[in-house]
Symmetry: C2
Subunit: 145 residues, 2 copies
């Protein structure tokens, strides 16, 4: 379970002659604290509450930069790009009603392993896999019943 680390960001900055700006700091902090998987727009809004006048361009720049360095990963759900500060191997649960995306730890999915994915296929080279489980989240399930 490796989450976006402040130190990893600092290291990345130090090694490449890049700069640690207040905007970047706040975007990283927000992603670290996010329990869900925020969209770029949610990041933009959250960051602007703490640091008004941060532009969308900066938010997108920073998200792309983090992504390019493997510090966050993108997930597409419901036609929306979301950012996931959890970069370890894991899976997702998506609520079909509220659209929430929850993490499912890879350690829980013992039944399906990479070797099995490999054996399913022929001449392809399998590198990794992810499972997306769909249904109703706890909250929506209660409302529904």
């Amino acid at each position: 379970m490796s989450r976006l680390q402040t130190q990893a960001v600092e290291t990345m900055v130090g090694e490449n002659g890049l700069k640690m700006t207040p905007q970047r700091r706040i975007i990283v902090e927000y992603l670290q604290s996010a329990v869900n998987h925020p969209t770029a727009d949610e990041v933009f809004n959250a960051v602007n509450e703490k640091f008004p006048m941060t532009s969308r361009a900066t938010v997108y720049n920073t998200l792309n930069w983090l992504k390019g360095n493997g510090l966050v990963c993108e997930v597409f759900e419901g036609g929306v790009v979301r950012y996931d500060p959890n970069t370890s191997n894991h899976h997702h649960f998506v609520c079909r009603k509220c659209g929430k995306v929850e993490d499912v730890g890879a350690e829980l999915v013992g039944a399906f392993q990479l070797e099995q994915a490999v054996s399913l296929l022929g001449s392809q080279k399998v590198e990794n896999f992810e499972i997306t489980i769909r249904g109703l989240c706890a909250a929506c399930h209660v409302i529904d019943s």
Copy 2:
């Protein structure tokens, strides 16, 4: 393994007072013949080769109409929406190099079943799941090695 059927489309049309236009026919034919998972733009281009002057609006209308009636399903890969004429329960293999999306039959994935997905989670209501396997497709694997 249920693929988009001409008859299912005709039935859908007949039951709802809708019309079977040449454009719709060609879009359906193209999707049926597609081995990969075409994007809206690929559908647009393919259709225009056979039936010039078909507008993007019509392509999008038709795709959304097929989707709304469960005759095709959407998959998001690499930030692009793709249309899949295979509506049966199945999984995907995505090539990280060329971006190709291949189907993996659900019958092949014996190791991970819905009951297991359910048992992984707590108060959520699990309805279905899909597995996305990533790596290099046969063609790219050959080039790479």
